[in-house]
């Protein structure tokens, strides 16, 4: 104001001209400063965001890894321990399994334990019992959220409680609250499962460990996956929303003894005189009480839970019975389970259809160790079996992908030789981006070609967490292709394999060791080369039947058709019709001849639930409708599903008020034959890294949710990230003052310009 006054009062023009120039430069200068500051704001913004501490590391949900595990210096020595007892009874077509988990707490704290464990994908979990001292508490089936609430309430009240939840159809979690210092709590679950049959051979599998899964990052990439206009590509959020729930700690076998000792007993009542009975991956003792019964026990006592248990048996007779019919009466309904093996048609009687075979091999880090050897051996065997009339291609994938030929090529010796050297050079490394590989395999260049069949042979361990994305890809893109899944390794993800094969109208073959490669691949090729039994239908003459699977799948050579049905009355017969190649086939089974079976209603319900889940995936049914029918079935038949859980609460409170409760997630073994470094990257803080180990930069790309919870040897957080600790208060205030000054000066300037007039 003083300047203004001075200028106003003195009419000296020279001074004012000088003033004008000075003012002009001042304004220019200030403007430059302001622009400079603006530029600072702009250019520093990305810098700031990059410096923010990584929130992902600090989420409270990550605290689930358990302070109990964090604070013990000498590893898990003091932590909660678990023993597992598996008791299986095979009665004819079904397996009843009782899995007892023994939680022992040697610590001085009250502990809540969570244990993630696998079950067969077709298993129907229907019973939960908790044994505390001499009390047995039986669990009730409840809607998932409700069960969770009941459990949390009991946990708060200091009562002992157990909760069984399904994370995937083959992954379950048991949580046990309030295990006191020095206490042992037994949790027992029971499930029902159909016996698997392939040709002459019957089998059962007990999965023992959940292999670490590759959980793809939540990336925008998944949006363009289904750009085929099917409407399936809703903007993708995280492909594995429950990654925390399926990624428990995994112990490095190099620094930790194997844990979770498991005992297995099988009471085998096959219902027919038994021939060879064989356990594939475990040493067993077999007792023979009579010709149709066997008792199978582990030869050397408990084993660590690091590989699946597989038992196969064959009938003493040359041929297995080709038909099996079983019934059970529950409530007002009869339940029927039928196995029918269609006859095999001789090669000569039909013309061979030309085939186009796409082989896909997973060479991700989880395949490291013996798995990749099995996969490569299987693929080389398959290449050797191709006929000159066939066309083929090879795709390999980890988190990258290579297609050998741009389009499928004829299986002449030059191309086969090319493919053989390509396969031989493959090494296991990196993540598992399975969906793009499946997409590539299903992209069919001549899909109108009716003169050839298109088959995709997909070799993988299925160690991914985004199964649903893969299923959606298959159901959207399968076209005329058929997908044959080959599960590799000691603990493959059988749920992924069976569901993918079902959606892809193919089969699932499991190869658990290098010795099995030849035999199993020969079986698979018998299926690939021989015509499938198609257009299958089943008709009941008298009874009204609710049949599952609702649409009968095609059946490959040596496979039985497995039917489950709920009937209003057990009368009349069922006629099964189909076509083998181009010849019609039919068989009629009188229902009166069915034998008494056990737990068939549960198998039927489980199968119906799987149907509903498939319908949900393929959008044949709205998610709400599917969920409604799943829930109704689960509650009626007491089954644990995606929507229902079993919960057991001990009425007597045991934890005194005020005593804190610590959470302990039980660690898992690495599946046998897996290479720890390939899955989790290098062991970062081993005192002296063995020099022979490759520091593979590719492994670093692998994103595993469990990475930061790798074993205790590597548990120390490296260094602390410091937050951003500067505000822009000063900057803003200074900029504000400058702008105010400028405006003031401009006002003066304006005034000076106006005043002479």
């Amino acid at each position: 104001m003083t300047i203004y006054d001075a200028c106003e009062s003195s009419p000296q023009i020279r001074l004012s001209r000088r003033m004008r120039i000075v003012l002009f430069f001042l304004v220019e200068g200030v403007a430059a400063l302001v622009i400079g500051f603006a530029a600072l704001f702009l250019s520093f913004d990305p810098g700031w965001s990059a410096e923010l501490p990584q929130q992902a590391v600090l989420r409270p949900s990550d605290a689930r890894s358990g302070s109990l595990l964090f604070k013990t210096d000498d590893g898990y020595a003091d932590a909660l321990r678990l023993g597992i007892d598996v008791d299986l009874t095979v009665s004819g077509p079904t397996v009843r399994a009782r899995v007892t988990q023994i939680f022992r707490n040697p610590t001085k704290d009250w502990v809540e334990a969570t244990y993630v464990y696998p079950l067969p994908a077709g298993g129907a979990v229907d019973t939960l019992k908790m044994v505390v001292g001499d009390r047995i508490v039986v669990g009730d089936i409840k809607e998932r959220q409700q069960a969770r609430t009941i459990y949390e309430q009991a946990k708060q009240n200091g009562q002992k409680a157990a909760l069984t939840e399904q994370e995937r159809p083959n992954i379950f979690t048991n949580s046990v609250a309030n295990i006191g210092p020095g206490e042992t709590v037994l949790v027992q679950i029971e499930y029902q499962e159909p016996v698997q049959q392939n040709g002459n051979e019957f089998s059962l599998r007990v999965p023992m460990v959940v292999g670490p899964r590759y959980n793809p990052r939540p990336v925008v990439q998944s949006v363009d996956l289904r750009a085929d206009g099917s409407g399936l590509g809703a903007t993708s959020t995280d492909p594995v929303p429950d990654r925390n729930r399926i990624s428990p700690e995994v112990l490095d076998p190099a620094t930790n003894a194997s844990i979770n000792p498991t005992n297995i007993t099988v009471h085998l009542n096959a219902g027919f005189p038994l021939g060879e009975v064989k356990s594939h991956f475990h040493q067993v003792k077999i007792e023979n009480p009579d010709s149709t019964t066997r008792v199978v026990k582990l030869a050397e006592g408990p084993v660590p839970a690091d590989r699946d248990f597989e038992l196969t048996w064959k009938p003493a007779a040359e041929k297995a019975p080709s038909v099996g019919l079983f019934r059970e009466h529950v409530g007002n309904s009869d339940y029927l389970l039928a196995f029918v093996t269609p006859p095999s048609v001789e090669q000569a009687q039909r013309q061979q259809l030309a085939r186009e075979v796409i082989f896909v091999i997973d060479n991700s880090g989880s395949m490291g160790g013996t798995s990749i050897i099995q996969a490569k051996a299987s693929l080389l065997y398959a290449l050797g079996r191709l006929q000159p009339t066939d066309r083929f291609n090879v795709i390999r994938f980890d988190d990258t992908m290579d297609t050998l030929f741009p389009t499928p090529v004829a299986a002449n010796s030059a191309n086969i030789g090319n493919a053989t050297s390509f396969v031989s050079a493959i090494q296991a490394r990196g993540g598992t981006e399975m969906v793009p590989a499946m997409r590539a395999a299903l992209s069919d260049t001549n899909h109108d070609d009716a003169n050839s069949v298109r088959q995709v042979v997909f070799l993988t361990d299925g160690a991914i967490g985004n199964e649903q994305q893969l299923f959606e890809t298959i159901s959207a893109l399968r076209g005329r292709s058929r997908v044959f899944m080959v599960g590799i390794g000691s603990a493959p993800n059988t749920y992924l394999m069976t569901r993918a094969a079902e959606l892809g109208r193919g089969t699932f073959t499991h190869i658990g060791s290098v010795e099995q490669v030849d035999e199993r691949m020969r079986d698979l090729f018998a299926k690939l080369e021989n015509p499938a039994v198609t257009n299958l239908s089943a008709k009941f003459s008298d009874a009204i039947a609710d049949l599952t699977p609702s649409a009968l799948p095609d059946i490959y050579r040596d496979e039985p058709l497995v039917l489950a049905a709920k009937l209003d009355k057990l009368a009349g017969s069922v006629e099964i019709k189909g076509r083998i190649g181009d010849r019609p086939w039919s068989v009629t089974l009188p229902l009166a001849g069915a034998a008494e079976g056990k737990g068939l209603s549960k198998l039927w319900a489980r199968r119906k639930i799987a149907d509903a889940e498939v319908a949900r995936t393929t959008r044949q049914e709205s998610p709400e409708d599917a969920d409604k029918s799943i829930l109704a079935l689960a509650l009626e038949h007491q089954l644990v599903t995606r929507l229902t859980s079993l919960v057991a609460v001990d009425k007597t409170p045991s934890r005194p008020e005020g005593e804190p409760l610590k959470l302990s997630e039980l660690p898992l073994n690495l599946p046998a034959g897996w290479d720890f470094a390939k899955v989790f990257g290098e062991r970062p803080s081993l005192p002296a890294a063995p020099t022979g180990r490759r520091a593979d930069a590719g492994d670093g790309k692998m994103h595993l949710a469990a990475l930061k919870r790798s074993p205790v040897a590597t548990q120390r957080p490296g260094t602390i990230q410091l937050p951003k600790t500067a505000t822009d208060a000063e900057l803003k205030m200074i900029a504000g003052v400058i702008l105010l000054t400028v405006s003031l000066l401009l006002l003066v300037f304006n005034r000076r310009q106006t005043s002479p007039q």
Binding site: F44, Q721, P723, D728, L731, G736
Partner: protein, 203 residues
């Protein structure tokens, strides 16, 4: 009339910017008053008390440098929201008085403005939420990048680190952090009553 538009616009923007800057300081000052109250209540009741009903954090400790008459209430967590109101206790670091390193971070231009005046040998008192007071002595300072703090959270010692942005008088945020390292010299476990009395006479 038109020639007034530009200066007025400048003045308006200037006022808004100045106001925002002042608001940050005002928020920092006001929050500390509320936090003092909540912290005193926490000590008295033994439970975490939120300073205001919609807060997503709560006071966990008080840092005091008697020589400089400086004190601040530390909040749980070091998110940007928490740091606007007070120093934050960096996640995954020990509590004060426990084995390991307790790391507290705050803005250099608000709550940790006093940090540049702290000299080696100064005593820093940390009052925990349970009323226990621990006395640390500043023994060293360092300047590091935010992601290479070199702080080993599971060290065997009983240490305290106060961290803020470096350099102190810069106007923009940078990657460097100033760390003041201190070691426990005295753990005092007076009773709650006497503590809250000290607090009341202090505030």
């Amino acid at each position: 009339m038109r020639r007034f538009i530009l200066p007025l616009a400048f003045a308006l923007i200037g006022l808004i910017l100045f106001g925002q800057g002042a608001y940050i300081h005002a928020k920092a000052l006001l929050a500390q008053v509320l936090l003092e109250r909540a912290f005193a209540q926490s000590i008295a009741t033994g439970h975490p008390v939120k300073p205001w009903s919609w807060a997503d954090t709560w006071p966990v400790a008080r840092i005091e440098v008697k020589r400089l008459h400086a004190s601040a209430i530390v909040l749980a967590g070091s998110s940007g929201q928490a740091l606007a109101f007070g120093p934050g206790h960096v996640e995954q670091t020990a509590d004060a008085g426990e084995r390991g390193v307790a790391v507290y971070s705050a803005h250099r231009d608000t709550h940790f403005r006093f940090l540049k005046d702290v000299t080696i040998g100064d005593e820093i008192d940390v009052t925990r939420r349970d009323g226990k007071i621990f006395r640390y002595r500043a023994d060293r300072s360092s300047v590091v990048r935010f992601d290479q703090s070199g702080i080993d959270p599971v060290t065997d010692g009983y240490e305290l680190v106060l961290s803020t942005c470096w350099p102190f008088d810069a106007l923009t945020s940078g990657p460097e952090r100033y760390l003041l390292h201190a070691t426990l010299i005295e753990s005092d476990s007076r009773t709650r009553e006497s503590d809250s009395r000290t607090l009341e006479s202090g505030s």
